[in-house]
């Protein structure tokens, strides 16, 4: 019996529920030891309209069971992405979504318009949750009207799947989730990194040059499972769980808590085979528990 791991998520039929998270996979062109068979989809490094240099070093620091990063969305801008990467993606056997960023809602819309119809681009993940940019980013993610305005601006410009990546830095993620759903999002990704800070005792200043950074890794997992669960309970579109998934059991927590799929990020830094191991581990769990498909896995989503 072959186990059916495929899943329909926000307008895309994926061969498996394990996706590569934005910013942890580059543009997918130089990932070592990549096992494509296990990859449901890839979300590209976040892109702005124009090229960005990123933040000065130090950009990363390890913390207990996690890491802080402040890369600052270094990237080639939309022209570089279309020229250098999209043509390669067009021949791949899994969809690539572009993580899009802007300083205004109209910049997000303009980016979607520029990328819509470019071969190789399978959809968009709207980033309204990056903690490491001066303008935009997180601001859009913690105000339901701003989140909706950005989602609408992108939705108007494309028929491709539109996903919205939510920030955990909110009082009630359900409010933001519903605003994005109402504005036309096809799926939600929950959650981006938490804002954190660490001090250097020798230099007596923050260890990151940007002062703060986004916390990822196992340190955030229970927080992320809870937020993804809250988002899933608030909407009827699929939620993709993200946050500290290192192995299959971690991914299964998100799936059982109501997520349709998961993204693996920081784990790839540590273990280039993490995505394949998570995929295979989910399949093994389903098989040993008597499920014939991922779709049969029950989700814990009380609607009280």
């Amino acid at each position: 019996m072959t186990l059916d791991m495929s899943v329909e998520v926000g307008g895309l039929r994926l061969r498996g529920p394990v996706l590569a998270a934005s910013g942890t996979f580059g543009y997918g062109t130089e990932v070592p030891l990549l096992e494509r068979r296990a990859l449901g989809a890839m979300v590209s490094k976040g892109i702005f309209l124009r090229p960005r240099a990123g933040t000065p070093p130090p950009r990363i620091v390890e913390t207990p069971s996690g890491m802080l990063n402040a890369i600052g969305l270094q990237g080639p801008g939309v022209d570089g992405l279309v020229r250098d990467y999209a043509p390669q993606w067009a021949s791949w056997d899994f969809p690539v979504l572009v993580n899009i960023n802007g300083e205004t809602a109209s910049e997000y819309g303009e980016l979607a318009a520029r990328l819509d119809g470019v071969p190789g681009i399978g959809g968009f993940e709207i980033n309204i949750s990056c903690p490491n940019v001066e303008q935009g980013g997180l601001y859009f993610g913690n105000d339901p009207r701003a989140a909706a305005a950005v989602t609408e601006a992108v939705r108007k410009m494309t028929d491709l799947p539109v996903w919205v990546k939510l920030t955990p830095m909110v009082t009630d993620i359900g409010v933001i989730a519903r605003a994005c759903e109402a504005a036309g999002a096809d799926a939600l990704c929950a959650v981006n990194t938490f804002v954190g800070m660490s001090m250097d005792l020798n230099a007596r200043q923050p260890r990151l040059s940007f002062r703060t950074g986004g916390l990822s890794g196992p340190a955030i997992r229970p927080l992320a499972v809870h937020l993804a669960h809250q988002a899933a309970r608030a909407v009827s579109i699929p939620v993709i769980g993200i946050g500290g998934i290192m192995r299959a059991d971690d991914a299964l927590e998100f799936l059982l808590a109501g997520c349709a799929a998961v993204q693996v990020g920081t784990a790839t830094f540590v273990n280039p085979r993490a995505i394949a191991e998570v995929h295979d581990g989910i399949a093994a769990y389903l098989a040993s528990n008597g499920f014939a498909s991922l779709a049969e896995l029950p989700r814990y989503l009380p609607r009280d």
Partner: protein
């Protein structure tokens, strides 16, 4: 690039608190070039892997050099033979040691000895006369295995060799290769713009995807120590923007 489980084979002390660890890693030993590094992970251990220049190779074995500077390195140094680390490598772009120059000066400060034995090997193979200038704070901190056609020692306190910095002790050479604290490399850059230097940065993945190991460039922007580096032409780096207070050279 290989990802393999590498058993610890041996450990030896080469300076006060400075150790060389030998691991069995045949595919990496057979393909690593001077200046390249491996990214080591172990369990239980820190979340992220730790990058180490490959110090030497011996048949199917690789060696790395380290001091206990944090929890991770202390764990590595507490391992006993047959304990296993996960080893990813070889990574990065190494030194360019093609035949041409008649002589090379290898300049190392403290743990900056890390890439030098392989550099000496490759330089000799390319027909160069090797002068190794190795500096540290004091005699006890000098790596005992410095090796070359000529070896020049330098200590800040004058307890062995020349009193002063390794950089000040470098003789005229057709090619200069350097590794050590970023402060030292900045001094190298101002004296020999064309020197090849291996820089120290914090590192996330080691494979080019996280953009965590940004190196500020003199022409503007950043690239990645793990991919375009860790070896650079000295004058290509914007030294004023590269943190100088990291406690180690390519290792945690």
């Amino acid at each position: 690039m290989f990802l393999l489980d590498a058993p610890l084979v041996a450990r030896r002390e080469v300076a006060r608190g400075m150790f060389v660890l030998t691991f069995d890693a045949p595919p990496i030993a057979g393909s690593v070039r001077a200046g390249q590094f491996v990214n080591l992970g172990w369990s239980p251990g820190p979340l992220l892997r730790r990058p180490f220049s490959v110090y030497r190779t011996d048949g199917g074995r690789i060696e790395v050099i380290l001091k206990a500077v944090g929890v991770g390195t202390a764990q590595l140094l507490a391992m006993t033979p047959s304990d296993v680390v996960s080893c990813l490598g070889p990574l990065g772009r190494g030194f360019d040691l093609q035949a041409g120059p008649k002589s090379v000066a290898l300049v190392s400060g403290g743990l900056g000895v890390a890439p030098m034995p392989l550099a000496a090997r490759d330089a000799r193979a390319a027909g160069m006369r090797v002068t190794w200038v190795h500096g540290a704070r004091t005699a006890e901190d000098l790596c005992s295995e410095a090796d070359g056609d000529e070896v020049i020692w330098a200590t800040d306190d004058g307890s062995r060799g020349i009193s002063g910095t390794a950089v000040a002790a470098v003789p005229d050479s057709a090619l200069v290769i350097a590794c050590g604290p970023n402060r030292m490399l900045a001094a190298v850059a101002s004296r020999w713009p064309d020197a090849q230097v291996a820089v120290e940065t914090y590192m996330g993945c080691g494979t080019g995807v996280c953009l965590g190991c940004a190196v500020p460039l003199a022409r503007g922007g950043y690239d990645r120590a793990c991919k375009e580096g860790p070896v650079y032409r000295a004058a290509d780096i914007e030294w004023s923007m590269l943190p100088s207070h990291l406690p180690y050279a390519l290792g945690a």
